[in-house]
């Protein structure tokens, strides 16, 4: 019996080791890439349609359409499938778990809307609460989710690394990390970042997009973080202080080494200022795009705007405190 236990433990150790992920390398900017885009200044921010997003209504799925099943999603922990609509357009659909516990689909659409609103490129994603699906055995109505269009102008060229890319250290990159902290994105794996080749005529851009940010709007505990959970999101603190010029986040996710001792108060203020320019309607539209009930959306928006206010005040408070004599004042912004 003891031998069997040893074999079992050995098998467990080997299989666990085989499935283990490598630690990310130290962060450093990579060589410049022609046409690389992480962020484009949102000069028209005030007039942006945050409900339909940057790809507009013309690229949205028709909720009255009957979609044709192609194949089941075979990667990641979330459920999903590939479908085609009556126009022949292909969609990647992410659906909730039965029981609707911590569904990532609404989060992914809302986060995408917020990212694109302040200048970060995003693929065309939309939310449908339900849809009709036809497969070889008939047609039925299924619970909906996030619909991401396979657009002919966008080519998925793989993932990109948070730790090594041409933008490491730039304000938009630092601001993007801060935004992930604000949203409590608990799953910042490189695999959730997508490098898109975006063709517009003869022009080819390399879009560095945070694509799968559905594990957000909850808390960031290491074990089973909540996603899309307003109570957890309201309870979770944002910034705990400033230490030697770097912001300490309350974030406890697996990839907190991306922000530890790397983010300045000015970085936080930079993205907070952009987010602070979103109108009430744009905030509501971002959550409406994800299918949120207005009352729940209002609570998320309030918490996020509190964080934005905290972030906008942080740089000023920090500068003021660091020129003063009180060390305690360095904990400004809390």
């Amino acid at each position: 019996m003891r031998r069997a236990h040893l074999i079992l433990i050995a098998v467990f150790a080997v299989t666990t080791a085989a499935c283990a992920k490598a630690q990310p390398p130290a962060m450093q900017p990579s060589a410049p890439v022609a046409g690389a885009v992480l962020w484009v200044e949102p000069t028209d921010l005030a007039t942006r349609d945050v409900f339909h997003g940057p790809w507009g209504q013309e690229n949205a799925p028709n909720s009255a359409d009957t979609f044709r099943y192609v194949e089941t999603k075979r990667s990641g922990v979330n459920r999903g499938m590939t479908v085609k609509d009556s126009q022949g357009r292909e969609w990647s659909v992410k659906t909730p778990f039965p029981g609707n516990l911590d569904s990532e689909a609404p989060v992914e659409v809302t986060v995408s809307r917020l990212l694109s609103a302040v200048g970060y490129p995003q693929p065309p994603v939309y939310f449908l609460p339900a849809f009709d699906l036809k497969d070889d055995l008939g047609t039925r109505t299924l619970v909906g989710g996030r619909f991401r269009l396979t657009h002919p102008s966008l080519t998925d060229a793989g993932s990109w690394s948070w730790a090594e890319n041409p933008f490491v250290g730039t304000p938009p990159y630092q601001g993007l990390l801060v935004m992930m902290m604000m949203l409590n994105n608990s799953d910042m794996k490189d695999r959730n970042n997508t490098l898109y080749q975006r063709r517009a005529g003869d022009l080819v851009e390399q879009w560095y997009a945070v694509r799968d940010a559905g594990a957000a709007l909850g808390d960031t505990t290491r074990w089973a973080p909540r996603t899309n959970h307003i109570e957890s999101f309201e309870r979770a603190p944002f910034i705990v202080g400033v230490n030697q010029g770097h912001v300490d986040f309350a974030y406890k996710g697996a990839h907190r080494d991306l922000v530890d001792d790397r983010i300045s108060p000015a970085d936080v203020a930079w993205i907070s200022n952009w987010l602070g320019r979103l109108s009430d309607r744009q905030w509501r539209d971002a959550f409406r795009a994800g299918g949120y009930e207005p009352a729940v959306a209002a609570r998320f928006i309030k918490r996020l705007r509190d964080k934005v206010s905290q972030g906008r005040a942080l740089d000023y408070s920090w500068r003021k405190a660091s020129t003063g004599s009180s060390a305690e004042a360095a904990r400004a912004g809390q």
Partner: protein
């Protein structure tokens, strides 16, 4: 042969009745749960789970989140995985091993291979190749190889009157290669057929076991909402199998099975009544026998829960289960159950004299029972069981290889 005719007739009557029941109940269930496609914007199907009698602590809900993400998937992802399938009751509470699976060409080709060793040292390995979407998903063809080595399977002798003192164990290893086909008549109705080669060896007695050619045909109507944690729907299954002894012919036999399970949700699904009935009969020609490890058995966490695993075995078996589950919390149910059944050398002698009464707790997500604890009492005392599966999972409906040994 002539002496078996009444047995055949009786079995086919049972099978026929079960079939009629299957069609009737399944059609009813489909009519109740069907959601035909709409002409306009479709209504949103209800996804929520019922709240229980008590508020759920955050820790339990967080555990459900974790279980939903990582333990309830049922194996739908490409790549390497950790196989945790316990090969057989009595193998221990957990089994672990590496596995690899992959779907190709829009899910038209599926390969899977895994190996594992259980807490009590039971070992198994398997490889599978399947084409699941032939003829516009109406036909599934596949082949599977399975090797297993079970070192200490309990046996108490043959018949309903054996004593606990008669306990012995045997070491059974076997290889099984099978080709199978499934015709999908409806989304909920499958006609399955398989042809395989089984080579068992009972090492503890050192005897040469015969090799078998094994064929099985079954019709399965399944409208359960979630097979790993059903709260509504029904399952009906009728099956006929033949094991042909390829050596001396002494152990050739036929087996007929009829099984029905129903799940009725009450009080907004806060209460679920689960019912199951299962009849297994065997037929042999004069001078032939069913080998002990292929005889139907009773006892264990999925049949008579107050009895030891494999406590009773004989050529025929009857089992009934009634279970009432009440949602204590959203993801924790309390259950009360009655199990009753028996084995017998003749079908006419079957009864429900062996009984278990008990209760338990289940931690589950919407789609899977993650862990359950059952306490059961019967004529042979108490049993406490911790199990990582649904009590009425009926996994034999998904099985492709021959059941060696027979597991209730």
């Amino acid at each position: 042969m002539a002496g078996c005719r009444p047995c055949y007739s009786r079995n086919w009557v049972v099978a026929g009745l079960s079939l009629a029941l299957a069609f009737g109940l399944a059609a009813t269930a489909i009519a109740q749960q069907g959601q035909p496609a709409s002409q306009d914007v479709p209504p949103v199907p209800d996804l929520g789970e019922p709240q229980g009698l008590l508020p759920e602590p955050a820790l339990v809900e967080r555990a459900a989140v974790f279980a939903d993400r990582y333990l309830s998937g049922g194996g739908s992802g490409n790549g390497f995985y950790v196989s945790t399938k316990s090969p057989i009751q009595g193998a221990g509470w957990i089994s672990l091993g590496p596995g690899y699976r992959h779907w190709y060409k829009d899910d038209q080709v599926f390969i899977d291979g895994s190996a594992g060793v259980s807490w009590r040292g039971y070992k198994m390995g398997q490889a599978q190749l399947e084409f699941p979407k032939l003829l516009r998903s109406r036909l599934v063809l596949g082949t599977m190889y399975r090797w297993q080595d079970f070192r200490a399977i309990k046996s108490y002798g043959v018949g309903p009157d054996t004593t606990e003192a008669a306990l012995s164990t045997y070491h059974l290893s076997s290889q099984n290669v099978v080709g199978y086909a499934t015709v999908r008549l409806q989304r909920w109705l499958n006609l399955n057929s398989s042809l395989g080669w089984v080579d068992p060896a009972v090492r503890s007695i050192g005897g040469d076991e015969p090799r078998f050619l094994h064929t099985e045909t079954s019709l399965v109507a399944d409208t359960r909402d979630y097979p790993d944690h059903p709260t509504s729907g029904a399952l009906l299954r009728v099956a006929a199998a033949r094991f042909s002894d390829q050596d001396a012919g002494l152990y050739s036999f036929q087996r007929f099975e009829s099984e029905a399970a129903g799940f009725i949700a009450l009080a907004d699904s806060r209460v679920v009544i689960a019912l199951r009935g299962w009849l297994v009969t065997s037929n042999t020609h004069d001078g032939q026998f069913v080998p002990g490890y292929l005889q139907p058995t009773l006892g264990g966490g999925q049949s008579l829960r107050s009895y030891e695993d494999f406590r009773f075995r004989d050529d025929h078996m009857l089992l009934g289960n009634l279970e009432v589950r009440v949602a204590l919390m959203t993801h924790v149910d309390a259950a009360a159950f009655v199990d009753a059944g028996n084995v017998a050398p003749r079908v006419g002698d079957l009864n429900l004299d062996k009984r278990s009464y008990g209760g338990g707790l289940r931690f589950h997500t919407r789609r899977a029972t993650i862990v359950r604890a059952d306490v059961a009492h019967g004529q042979e005392g108490w049993q406490v069981r911790f199990t990582l599966s649904e009590p009425l999972k009926l996994s034999r409906t998904e099985r492709r290889t021959a059941p060696v040994p027979f597991v209730p």
